[in-house]
Symmetry: none
Subunit: 390 residues, 2 copies
């Protein structure tokens, strides 16, 4: 499964410019290898979550992995941990934290402490790591970016059923971390203790002299990829967020430079060790977010050049798609369906001869193929599904 992040696009010319003759990034790219795969395979566009829904990267990848993103939701704290590659363990409680500013009466005057720079955030996080002491609890504070940090509490018998301390507006004091149910009383006390100690430790700092905690959550208890699909799977991705989501469903993550050549080298190296490879290209999404149409085009062409290396490994099934659309003209994720191709020795080729948004509209997977159906279809094409009924 080769995922070009944010693959789907829009033509440069749009109704905004009264020029709809243009092509999308993928349509513009010269992709002889992908076009050949599309011609020999089946094509369509997939819907990551649902009609009109713009997905974040986490839910979008869960969909590709066969997990309905509406059912399998990751708590904000756990997602923060995943996003920065923190190795959250079963039982840990994670929270997303903000350093903030409070006035002399303890009321919040700035929920983001003027968006302090990341190095200040790191300094404050280290201060808390060093000074906060709670009996029987390991407390880990890790800077994320600007005012944001990750808090992880590690101990026995913790629960994430605790209310956030962030009142979500200024002029109010931070809230106390109330337990939603009796079994969370212990965790609630630990968090209250942490906040109290942090308030003293941060008191003389400026502008970040206090903190707010949100999204207490634990590692989700989901059925694993190999349990669901019987596939020993690994993830080759340069960015921690994607390795993290893959790891959440039980794939073995491989860290690698943000370099397609190195990613394919890993694919070749571990080819005989796994049944399923998720290979992630981040830069297409970044180029889209930057509004760099031409760069996104050339990155897609770079992936195209790798296809022969993948085919040389003689895969049973090849899937090429994106997790969502990131049209360069929008500079952000969007709701538009995502081009999808699936190649196998036993697929029934449709009439589509090239890999592009509008070409794929005529493909046999249709214009709104549910992302969560990709894995079952891949399994069928790999000959790994039993007959249903006699």
């Amino acid at each position: 499964m080769l995922v070009m992040d944010g693959l789907g696009g829009l033509p440069i010319g749009t109704n905004e410019t009264n020029d709809t003759s243009g092509k999308t990034e993928l349509e513009t790219a010269h992709t002889p290898n992908l076009d050949k795969l599309a011609a020999d395979g089946i094509t369509g566009l997939h819907l990551p979550v649902g009609t009109g829904i713009t997905p974040g990267s986490g839910p979008a990848h869960l969909g590709l992995f066969g997990y309905d993103p509406l059912e399998f939701q990751i708590g904000r704290g756990a997602l923060e941990a995943v996003g920065i590659g923190f190795d959250l363990e079963k039982g840990d409680v994670a929270a997303r934290g903000n350093f903030c500013t409070v006035d002399d009466s303890g009321k919040i005057s700035d929920r983001r402490a003027g968006r302090i720079d990341t190095s200040t955030c790191q300094k404050l996080s280290e201060l808390l790591n060093e000074k906060v002491k709670i009996d029987g609890v390991e407390v880990i504070v890790q800077a994320v970016r600007e005012h944001r940090f990750l808090l992880v509490l590690r101990s026995d018998g913790l629960s994430d059923a605790v209310a956030e301390t962030d009142p979500q507006r200024t002029g109010k004091a931070p809230l106390s971390p109330e337990a939603f149910e009796p079994k969370a009383d212990k965790t609630s006390s630990i968090i209250a203790d942490f906040v109290e100690q942090a308030a003293v430790i941060l008191k003389d700092q400026r502008p970040a002299n206090m903190l707010l905690l949100r999204g207490f959550s634990q590692l989700p208890d989901w059925p694993l990829f190999h349990e669901l699909f019987g596939l020993k799977a690994c993830a080759i991705a340069a960015y921690p967020m994607y390795r993290g989501v893959a790891k959440l469903v039980g794939m073995v993550p491989y860290e690698v430079d943000d370099d397609l050549d190195k990613e394919f080298a890993l694919l070749e190296q571990y080819w005989s060790d796994y049944d399923f490879f998720f290979l992630h290209m981040k830069q297409t999404d970044s180029a889209g977010e930057d509004g760099d149409f031409a760069k996104k085009v050339s990155l897609i062409e770079e992936m195209d050049q790798m296809i022969p290396r993948a085919m040389k490994l003689k895969p049973d099934v090849v899937i090429v798609t994106g997790d969502h659309s990131t049209p360069a003209i929008m500079k952000k994720h969007s709701w538009h369906p995502v081009p999808l191709l699936l190649w196998s020795k036993l697929c029934r080729p449709d009439n589509v001869k090239e890999f592009g948004e509008r070409a794929c509209l005529g493909g046999s997977l249709g214009a709104a193929f549910p992302a969560t159906d990709i894995m079952p279809l891949a399994l069928a094409n790999a000959g790994r599904l039993e007959k249903f009924g006699a």
Copy 2:
């Protein structure tokens, strides 16, 4: 949202005549402006309720407004009130009434009293309005058409959990209005009282000397359009039924002559006052019901001529569709999917260049787009939806 009622059609030549070369009403119509919108927008056909389901106008419009017609069902009495533009209030109980004929022993001999004419129905309704007296209850009888009338009871603490009095066949006496649950006892007594007084008042009338009541119901307690979608919405429609359904979901209804020019004048007049406009053209459906293929064609062309006026207002999103199909050759509503186009500055144009049933089959919305997905898709195209997940 421009709705041509009953837009979907069938070719004059059909399999019945062994001539399938013909065009539908929409395909026949000369619609350069709609074709341009289709070329610049996304297209498909929508399914109002489900495969093979022929919808009534109420459910079909609810679907367009984003309310699943199978989940959001209006009681028959309340729908009758909506249909004739009666201003039903919260707490009112409405019923659909029939004037009927009973014999000397009180048994029903004609459930529709020979379909008395509407003027007789009006006379009898006025008689009941004048003579029925129930302490603490306002009783309103309003003629509908032929033998049909609307009964509305207005008081505190009413319930619609009351069984109909119509045994649905002749040779039986009208049933007593039993309460389905204790809290409906009061309403049940009031209805019994009404029926008893009506029996005396109507006793000497011929042929309608009695009445039957069905479908006791109250205004539904639904989430409102602006709560669901964050849009301040209004409805421009000549017929009370459509204003009524729009009002049920919280749109502000504007009454207008059955004249597209006047409807668009209202659209222009109130353009800055609302976020969402539902503009309804009834005559396409009426022409279909009359079997007047040519008239339906020319009405569609009339709507086409209005498109430039709509575009001059610089809308973010334009939706053009029908609520259901009313093929002229069938002279009634049908189950056939309905042509749909959506235009926005950020839609990804598909390959469809004209607005017609068969052209739209190749559109990116597919051939069976759920009507209830139109609103979410419109919101996405208007940039009004948040990203799902991080």
